[in-house]
Structures are given as C-alpha cells and as structure tokens.
C-alpha cells in the first residue's frame, strides 16, 4: 500500500492510441474503459476524488491511513482476507494515495474481473473498522513514514521545501502525514473520513485491458451500480496567497554525504482557465531539463562539469497550483552556490533569448513518439486517466494531449517561462552535511 509521494503519470496519449470508451452509472460513478486485447488480463482501478490535501485539520495523512484500512474487514470479507482472495485468484492488488486522489487497483485475469469489482464495491460502503484492526495499522504507517521519510535526509528536505513553498494551501502537508499527527489517528477519525468521502458519485472506475465498454457495463451496474449516491461535500481548498518574496532553506544532516540542490517555482496546473500554459510548461520542462541533451544537462553537467546530475520536473495534473522544479547534485568539490549560479545563468539566457524552432521541433517529436510506448502498459493507461480525472481534467483533455503538445508555439513557451521563472515565487533548497564550510 504505497503512498504515492510522487505519482508518475506517464504520458497521456492520443485518442488513436488509447481509444477510451466512457459511460456514467445512474448513481453518478464515472466509468472509463481502455480496451487492449493483447493478453486476457485487466487492470482494474477505482479512483476517489480525495487525497492528502483533503486531510482534516490536525490529521495530516489521514487519507493515506484510510487507504491502508480499506484492506481490513467488511461485513462479508474477514480481516486480512481481501488481498488473500485476490492472490488466490492469481491477481495482484495495491493502492496509492496522493494529494488529490486515492486509488485502489488490481491486476487480474479478465474472467475474475467481476469478482474484484464486487469486492471493491463492497468495501466502498461496508468497511467495518475495530480498534484491533486500526491500531496495529497505525503502527505500520508510522513505520512506513520512518522508511520513506525519516530515514532519508532528502525526503526530510522535501517536506521542508513543501511547507516553504505553500504557506497556506494543504499541498504543504506530507502525503504520509506529520509523525505527531499520525500518532493521534483514531478509529473514529478514519470512519468519519470514510463516511464523508467514499461514495460512488465521488469515484471513477478505470478498467484497461481485455474488455470493452459493452462487456463492462453490466458488471459495473451489478456491482458499483447497486450503491446509492450520497451527498459528498465540495472539496474546500484554501487559496495560496501571492508569494512576494523568494524563500531559501538550508538543511544540514549528519547522514548527508553528497549535497543536493532543489529550486522550486509555483506554477499553474492543467486545471486552469488558460490550459495553454500548462502544456507549454510540460514542453519547457522536457526541453530545459528532460534528458541528456537538454539545455541544463548540456551546460551544467557536460560543458561546465559542475553537476553529476540535473533535471527539471513539472506535473500538470494537480487540482490547484503546482510547482516547476529543478534538481541538481554537484560533482565532488563543487559548491551548491556554483551550481545555483550556473542554473540561474541558463534561466537568464532562456528568458532573454527564448527557445529555437529547431529544439522545439525536436522535443515535440520525441514527446509524441514516446506516447506510443504508453499503450504497452495497462496500468500506465489507467493511471493517466485516473490522475487527470481526479484533478479537474476530462477524458477529452487526455485524448487531446498530442494535439495540445503539437500546438505549443515558441511564443507559448517563452511566455510560460517568463511566468514561471520568477524568483519571487521560488524556494531554493539546499541539503548539506553537518560539518562543512558555510555556503553564501
């Protein structure tokens, strides 16, 4: 049961690749089918429009805790049996939590699909939690936090970076939760959250694999379709106030042997009126820091030999404002200040001179070609649709991805770069060993 601290959404792909079919159940549950008949296997995903950013006050990470508890008993399935039944049927199952969604999935032979749909529908409404089930699982998620965060200085820095970037918005919370708040989780907290958010009209079913919409519809109606819709509250998200001053953090930890650098800028997500900017930023991140011939890699790693690695990341599938980030690790004996200076120079050059026709054409060609590979993975397709639909995008948006990428112009990228590379909306984070000469 993995906390999806960062969910790789892969490349959404063109309609001629996935050919999704969609329909709606009477109770308001949206269904997306992505036929792929290579093997008699399906990936079955249920996505809830609720995630870490919807944690109750003082209970950060509760959505992830509930994700774990969904594998406990219902009235029909004894505790510990859910995954065992899937396994006995030759399937694999797990779940993932992120800021804007919680998702449950099984990979299984297609003739077992209705079994897992029945089980997933059952636990949507019939979860039965006791202290005997809840309290040991609280210890498990606390150990999970130790593994993923407390044992990893770079993960601890990531938490500090998020609270620095978001002063107010709940994207400041760790997906897994703050330790002291995790220790306070009760059975009642979990039950209240479950009863508030888990309903068919707040869920999306995505099935990829050896099935069609016509075949799936009756199964969906017999399982999820039997569950009445319920009132689900609106997702009330506070708005992050304008950032007016650049922020800098520096963390020192005795375990750090190799320093690292992160620059993070607030950036619009796909779910904005002006979606154009998000697509431009996606192309920009690829062109600027997306591979061994990107501008940053060529300049900072190859030509100047300052960093051993560098990359830029932008994740547009986010319900509220997201970030555009640059990560770098210095070569031995190179200071983070020198790395930062080199990155700033590349940003300044980009802002002054813009991108070229040639590099834009090359990066577009590569991104569109990569989309073909996305069809090879059942789960990748399911993830692309689930992540999009829980963050305000539509099936058509996912379908139009190649067209939108193709339409990005030099002017779009240059405008997006001017918008995002504003040092007043940035956080610069440095991870350093405990004993080292101070950096400026």
């Amino acid at each position: 049961m993995a906390a999806g601290l960062t969910l790789a959404t892969g490349s959404p792909a063109r309609s001629s690749i996935f050919n999704p079919e969609t329909f709606m159940l009477d109770n308001g549950m949206q269904v997306v089918v992505i036929p792929n008949h290579r093997a008699p296997v399906v990936a079955h995903w249920v996505w809830y429009r609720v995630g870490t950013a919807d944690s109750p006050l003082g209970k950060s990470g509760l959505p992830h805790f509930l994700e774990h508890l969904m594998f406990k008993a219902t009235d029909k399935i004894p505790q510990g049996e859910f995954s065992k039944i899937i396994a006995r049927n030759g399937g694999n199952d797990n779940a993932v939590t992120s800021y804007d969604f919680t998702a449950y999935y099984q990979m299984i032979a297609r003739d077992r699909l209705e079994l897992v749909m029945g089980m997933e529908a059952d636990r949507m409404v019939n979860l039965h939690l006791t202290d005997e089930a809840v309290l040991p699982e609280r210890d498990v998620v606390i150990e999970e936090r130790r593994s993923r965060v407390d044992n990893e200085p770079s993960a601890l820095l990531g938490e500090q970076l998020n609270v620095s970037q978001y002063l107010h918005h709940p994207y400041r919370l760790p997906v897994i939760g703050w330790m002291h708040e995790m220790e306070s989780y009760t059975r009642e907290d979990a039950v209240n959250f479950y009863k508030t958010w888990y309903a068919p009209n707040n869920a999306i079913l995505v099935v990829a694999g050896d099935i069609t919409a016509d075949e799936l519809r009756p199964l969906a109606e017999r399982t999820y379709g039997q569950i009445p819709a319920r009132d689900v509250p609106a997702r009330v998200r506070v708005t992050e106030p304008p950032q007016r001053a650049e922020r800098r953090i520096e963390m020192r930890d005795a375990r750090v042997r190799q320093p690292s650098f992160v620059r993070s800028y607030l950036a619009p997500s796909y779910d904005q009126e002006d979606q154009k900017t998000a697509y431009a930023l996606e192309v920009l991140s690829e062109l600027f820091g997306g591979g061994g011939t990107s501008r940053l890699y060529r300049s900072v790693v190859v030509d100047q030999a300052l960093a051993s690695g560098i990359a830029a990341y932008y994740r547009g599938s986010s319900l509220d404002d997201t970030t555009f980030r640059i990560y770098a690790s210095p070569r031995p004996n190179v200071s983070l200040d020198d790395i930062e200076k080199a990155i700033n120079e590349q940003i300044a050059t980009l802002l002054a001179d813009g991108v070229t026709e040639d590099e834009l054409a090359r990066v577009k060609k590569r991104m569109l070609a990569d989309a073909v590979y996305a069809r090879d993975s059942l789960s990748g397709a399911a993830r692309a649709f689930g992540a999009a639909l829980t963050t305000g995008q539509t099936v058509d948006d996912v379908e139009a991805w190649p067209d939108r990428i193709s339409a990005v112009s030099i002017e779009d990228i240059n405008n997006a770069a001017k918008l995002v590379f504003d040092i007043r909306r940035s956080v610069t984070a440095k991870l350093l060993p405990e004993e080292t000469e101070p950096t400026g």
Binding site: R112, R146, Y373
Partner: protein
C-alpha cells in the same frame, strides 16, 4: 497432485455470498494463453527468442553477455558497471552529445547495466526508426569511443553515487552481507566499485573489457513486439555479427555463502533499522526449485499473503515491509530477505522472522497454504507478461536457464505438480534459522544480552545493491 475442478468463476450476480466460499470456488484458474515464442537463428548463426506482437508499432529487445563484475580485475572493481554507463555515450562517428541526440530525437531508448554475472542491455524503438536503432546499438557495442569528457563525467557520477550510498542503510546492509558471506571470493567484490577503484579505471581498461567480454558465444537475446522472424534474422547479423566469436574465459569458482548464525550491526544514527538476512539457496536448475519457490512464496514471497507479513506486519504492526526471495546466481544460489523497523523493535522482529523460518523448515506447511500458493503463482504468471519489455526480459531468462522455447506453456505445470511433500522436503533443505543477518541502524534491546557488534566496522564505501529475481 490435487485435481483442479475446472470451475469457471460463476459467482457473478451473487455478490453477498460469503467471501470464504470464493476462495474454494475458483481454485482452477485457467492459464491465460501464453505468448507464441519462436526461436530465430540468423543467417550468421546468432540465436534469439522472439514474440511477434504487431498490435503496437514498436519493439523491445533485451540482451545479455555472460560475465559481469565478478570478473572485474583486482583494483579495478566497478569496471563492468562503469563501462555499462559509458557504452552509450559516444560511438563511431557520434560524440556523446550527438549520440544522445540520435537516441532522444528518434525516441529510441537504449540502456546498459552490469551485475555480478552479466553485462546486459535493452533497446526500445518505434518500428519507423527500427533500422536506425539497430545501427546505433551496433555502434555502441562495437565502436564505443570512450572520449575523455564522458569518461570523466560518468566517473564523477559513479563517485557521487558511491559517496551518497555511504549513508544508505539498504546499501550498507547488503554490502556487509556480501562481504561476510563471500569473504575471499569474487562475489564479495562491489559491483559499482569503490571510489578508489573507480578512480583507477582508464580508457584502456574500458576498451579491453568491451573487446574481451562482448562476444557472440556468451550472448543471449530476447525480442518482443513489431518484428517478424524473417525481419529479425538479418538484423541480428547486422547488430551483433561483427562481435568476436568468443569471449575471453573468466574461470571463477562456485561457492556458498558463509556466516550462518552471525548477526552484525553497522552503526548508523537513523530512527529505523534496516535488516538484511539470508543464507544459501536452491539453484534454478535444481529438481526442488519449484517446490522451494512455492515454499518461499508461502513464507515471505507473497506480499500481503505471506507468513512473514502476517506475523510481523499484520498482527504486530512492527514493519511496513518484510519479504524474502530466492536469488540464484551463476556461482552460488541464495535465499535472502529484509525488514525495516523501529530501533527498539529490531531484535523482536528478527526473532519472529526466525520463528517463521523454523516453522517452515520443520514442515509446518499445510494443504491450504499450498493450494493458495499454487493458485496465485499460476494465475498471476500471465500478469507478468503484459508488456513487450517484460516479455523480452523473460525470453532472455528462459535461454539463460535453458528452459526451452515452450517454457511459457509448461511453466504452470511445474507449479501445479508441486506436492505437499515436495514443499516440506525443499523447505527442510532450504531454510535454516541460523542465517547471516546484517543490521544497519541503532538497534536496542534484544532482551537477553547485548546486540553483537563487530569491532571497528566502518560503513563500507561501496558495493552492489541486490535486486529481487523472480522465477
């Protein structure tokens, strides 16, 4: 062997039936149709396994040269690994940036890796760029340039990575485990080298490795995707035909892991200790392999269903993850596992793990455990073969272990044929609670004495990180 009723799941409109009846109603899972594997022999005599799958216009190729980091020269440990990072950094007419641009602009994915026993690679390309992709692969393995800039860049990347790993508990635990288990044997060599040995590697070493290790007689190839046997045959000659016929012999002795019963602590100030445990295993070609595979699945290989998960995680909430796996290598089969838990719970967790290992070794496995394992292992097998990448890798493994071109059709039969007596016999052979245990962290409180520590152990600076290898 138990008869499996050919019950197709018939519970479709009966949601509400007791879940416990489900498990017994569906024990006869139909195996999904296995992919059609062809053996292709090129005009020049190069063999490959192929699964032709034209539905998506691309292919995945996996290939492997036997002989890996265990054969790296003394003082040049990490040579194979460093070569794997450099072989796609400039070849023939292309310098590093030009070669990377050829790959990236054409969406060709090419990567190389090295482990103890092999030097391996993978290629993924759209059909429309196939010829160019094959040409770039040919250049990479036959005309790598090892220009100064990429050599120094990759050297610094490896050194940065090794430096970072000096405080990585998983890495430290695995390195120490292999240092003790294979003291004096090439398997104790760190796959990624050490900072000192990486600094000592020169261009001539890299050229020598490519010249002597990449040959046709130690090469295994698997291909899945949009290419026919008739198209693949000549392509194999174009890509691999100019390699030397024979690789230089590297004669390394077989061995078995040492250190059974030892527990060693590497002190590191972290809130959660990381534990690596293991001992000798059962080889892939051993008649008891499938029985041992089933036994390990029940003990620690079955995710949420295993005894270790049940006892350590589900009942007591001691850990997020606890697991074990069979790890076969050319020179020493192994069984290994791991757990990570709060420092004051480490010794209790290890005690519980040992109890479960002893329970399995003592033959306390029952018919239901076996049934559940069989239905999972047979039913889930097709799930592992849903992408071209997965299939290509599987095709390489089938040839390495000499499993035959029809293995995918026969594999579930081997699992079905495992009896309770087989599992008990294999478990008794395989499992021993006197395993070698390495702990990285600040463990406390074993209840009946001090936690043993080796004198003067510093964190080793480098070494391989073990990956799970399935069947």
């Amino acid at each position: 062997m138990r008869e499996h009723a050919p019950t197709r799941f018939s519970w479709i409109s009966a949601w509400g039936a007791c879940a416990l009846t489900i498990a017994t109603a569906v024990s006869g899972i139909q195996t999904a149709n296995a992919a059609n594997v062809e053996e292709v022999v090129s005009p020049g005599g190069i063999h490959a396994y192929l699964v032709n799958e034209p539905s998506i216009p691309f292919l995945s190729m996996a290939f492997q040269f036997s002989g890996g980091s265990s054969g790296d020269p003394d003082g040049k440990e990490g040579l194979s690994y460093m070569a794997s990072g450099l072989i796609d950094e400039g070849s023939g007419p292309y310098d590093s940036q030009a070669f990377r641009a050829e790959l990236e602009d054409n969406a060709i994915q090419l990567s190389f890796d090295a482990d103890r026993d092999s030097f391996s690679g993978s290629l993924k390309t759209l059909t429309e760029n196939r010829d160019h992709a094959f040409e770039l692969l040919r250049l990479a393995i036959t005309e790598p340039r090892f220009d100064e800039e990429p050599v120094e860049r990759i050297r610094q990347q490896i050194i940065s990575d090794l430096t970072r790993r000096e405080s990585d508990p998983e890495y430290l635990g695995a390195r120490r485990w292999f240092d003790i288990a294979f003291a004096g044997h090439p398997y104790s060599k760190p796959t990624r080298g050490t900072i000192e040995t990486i600094k000592a590697i020169g261009k001539d070493d890299l050229r020598e490795l490519v010249r002597t290790r990449l040959a046709r007689n130690n090469l295994t190839i698997g291909v899945a995707g949009d290419i026919t046997a008739d198209e693949l045959g000549p392509a194999l000659d174009e890509v691999f035909g100019s390699l030397p016929a024979d690789a230089a012999d590297v004669d390394l002795p077989k061995t078995t892991p040492q250190g059974d019963g030892e527990t060693v602590v590497i002190d590191l100030d972290i809130p959660q200790s990381v534990v690596i445990f293991g001992h000798g295993g059962i080889a892939r070609n051993d008649p008891d392999y499938y029985a041992a595979y089933v036994a390990n699945y029940i003990l620690g290989g079955g995710g949420f269903s295993s005894w270790l998960t049940e006892e350590v995680r589900e009942k007591r909430g001691l850990a997020y993850s606890v697991y074990s796996y069979l790890y076969d290598t050319d020179l020493s089969p192994m069984w290994m596992g791991g757990v990570a838990t709060r420092n004051d719970q480490v010794m209790e967790s290890i005690r519980i793990i040992k109890e479960q290992v002893a329970r399995m070794a003592d033959g306390n496995v029952d018919e239901k455990n076996l049934d559940d394992a069989r239905t999972y292992l047979t039913g889930s097998f097709p799930l592992r073969l849903t992408s071209n990448d997965q299939i290509a890798r599987m095709l390489v493994g089938m040839q390495i272990y000499d499993l035959g071109v029809d293995y995918l059709d026969r594999r579930n039969g081997y699992i079905e044929a495992v009896t309770l007596n087989d599992v008990r016999r294999a478990a008794k052979r395989l499992f021993n609670e006197d395993m070698l245990v390495t702990i990285v962290g600040s463990p406390s409180g074993d209840g009946d004495g001090t936690v043993p520590r080796l004198e003067g152990i510093d964190a080793p600076s480098s070494g391989p990180h073990e990956d799970n290898i399935g069947d």
